[in-house]
Point group: C2
Chain length 364, copies 2
């Protein structure tokens, strides 16, 4: 079958005996589109257009095949939840299937917000014209509000560009959003006034639609200019709406996102970018988590390489990083990167200000 | 450490060398709670309460261990997105970790809606006092609206209790929610008047918060009394809010939910129940998808066995089922079950009414 340019191409990996792969690929195409016996379909247009097509099968060796499915863009309803349903809905229940990559026809991306600021917007905001952007995290959850605000002040005095909440600091009773965010924002603003710097706070937005709307209101009221969101925790369609409502740069956090058999460069790179992430955090190789160097660089490429009409998303390698690794990370990822060191600064305890300054100096 | 009854217990499976499992379990407890070096924590309360504890380690053989973590309930913010973050946030990025089960302290569930109707509510609605409830699906997406309405009429004439949208029928241009739902609802109401029956329509709710609010308005306006929702596609916290707003029984669909290393009985059974599913659809063994008989029965048990103060959720085994299997499914799952046959009816083509009546007769 010739490749139809107006279709979405989903590249899957299927484990299957070679003798069965053609039937297995066709079954997947049916499962992911009409989910019914094809012989019972009564409309030619459904058969020719809506049923997903098998566009190619390639033997990957070791009992696995790469299968390209052609999916009609209109089946996605141009909306995040149904897009994910078409790409990886029922087959998420089939352990022999994983989703490797997706190509969209030109223009398809326009139904989605994409990064509203992207790398250039983050550079304008922070004033970091060419160098990597520095980032750290307020931790731990459970600490008194005053402690978090004091930490934020210290980091801002050191000149770190972005101070995000730990992603576990959400809306708990010990530091609820409505008290924490104004207090931390105020502490940073004061430090900025003292130093003439421009440090930004990115608090965690979490919960259901009503909670997110309330957090948006509070954040706007106290002048918050960046946000931290875990798209898979609040849900992809809620993520789309939230960042449009916020209208400030959004950093995507990968919590709950690694659960899938969806290739990390696709989910954390391409799809989070399509849905509007201005920066995307991922576990750097050699840290506490498990991605390989190749996976990390593929995520960075998916986030910031030219793609359709979408602005580039800033890659944020993180997870157990230390100042020792700054040089190596800069060489590996280049300047269009945000370097996030959290616990690695906090472990300096009473020497926190010095350690934070050292981080800033190493990057500048 | 003695087991603290006021903590949430998360049971994980970790693959690790035996010599490292204690350190690995402690690292997981830190990662999932404070995510920073413990020696840099300055508050006793954080150390004693907020840092997750390792409550037990058991060798499962084959290089895997069962690890029980104790998690402070207040870290979840009594809210779905942060609950999932505490249970499986960062460790979703660690392929050697999977989540097997969760126990909540008594009363914790009261922060969540739970099933508002449950099995008893579904029985009252459908009038099926003791027998299993029958269900089928409108398919395929892409078919004209009139075709879907005619299918719905036929199924209603046959006396099937619940007609759900195929989960791929969302809000696409060829049958948008605002036109489809009133039309199908009307077709079913007419058939009900002719037969004196009480068939219900469960349309698919999908998209972001604004789309869901609009769909809720339309559904209420035309008298829809049941809903189909894929919680993992719209996001768990949006699912919680949606079904509270809808205030009608909600069937949960497992699309995009099998992607995780979260045990299916926990996610599709317990967690969907906690968050409000009145019925939970899962791929039955021996169908098109891959769960074992044991997994399926564990899902059914998690959905409907007594648990805290939560109403039972109706199990809905599905996915390639046929009338031939009705007897076996009834014997296996018992009467508190919804039997869902979709494509297996549609394949009867012009004999659809007869096949649907046969399904109803086999169950009654």
């Amino acid at each position: 079958m010739p490749f139809a340019p107006q279709r979405i191409t989903a590249t899957c990996r299927i484990e299957s005996p070679a003798a069965e792969i053609e039937a297995r690929a066709r079954a997947l195409a049916t499962e992911q589109s009409v989910e019914m016996p094809l012989e019972a379909i009564r409309h030619d247009e459904v058969m020719s257009r809506i049923v997903a097509s098998v566009e190619g099968i390639r033997d990957l060796g070791g009992g696995a095949f790469e299968v390209k499915l052609g999916i009609a863009p209109e089946t996605t309803g141009a909306e995040a939840s149904q897009l994910m349903n078409m790409l990886f809905g029922n087959c998420s229940l089939q352990p022999e299937v994983s989703l490797l990559d997706v190509e969209f026809p030109a223009g398809f991306e326009k139904a989605f917000p994409g990064p509203r600021f992207g790398i250039a917007g983050l550079r304008t905001l922070t004033g970091a014209a060419r160098r990597p952007i520095t980032c750290t995290a307020l931790k731990p959850q459970g600490a008194p509000l005053e402690h978090l605000a004091a930490l934020a002040r210290t980091f801002a005095l050191a000149g770190i560009d972005v101070i995000k909440d730990d992603h576990g600091i959400a809306n708990q009773v010990y530091a609820p959003f409505e008290r924490r965010v104004p207090a931390v924002q105020r502490a940073i603003a004061e430090a900025n006034r003292e130093t003439g710097g421009r440090t930004f706070y990115a608090p965690t937005f979490s919960g259901g639609p009503r909670a997110l709307a309330e957090q948006t209101r509070i954040a706007k009221e106290c002048g918050v200019r960046m946000a931290l969101v875990a798209p898979m925790l609040i849900g992809l369609p809620a993520f789309v709406e939230l960042q449009v409502d916020l209208d400030i740069p959004v950093m995507a956090h990968p919590a709950f996102a690694g659960a899938g058999r969806i290739a990390p460069p696709l989910l954390l790179g391409k799809l989070f970018r399509l849905l509007g992430a201005d920066a995307t955090i991922f576990p750097n190789h050699g840290g506490r988590l498990s991605y390989s160097r190749a996976t990390c660089h593929a995520i960075a490429a998916a986030a910031r390489d030219p793609w359709l009409t979408l602005r580039p998303t800033l890659p944020v390698p993180a997870g157990g990083m230390t100042i020792d690794r700054v040089q190596e990370m800069l060489e590996g990822y280049g300047p269009h990167t945000m370097l996030l060191i959290g616990g690695g600064l906090l472990s300096a305890k009473e020497k926190l200000l010095d350690r934070a300054k050292e981080f800033v100096a190493a990057v500048h």
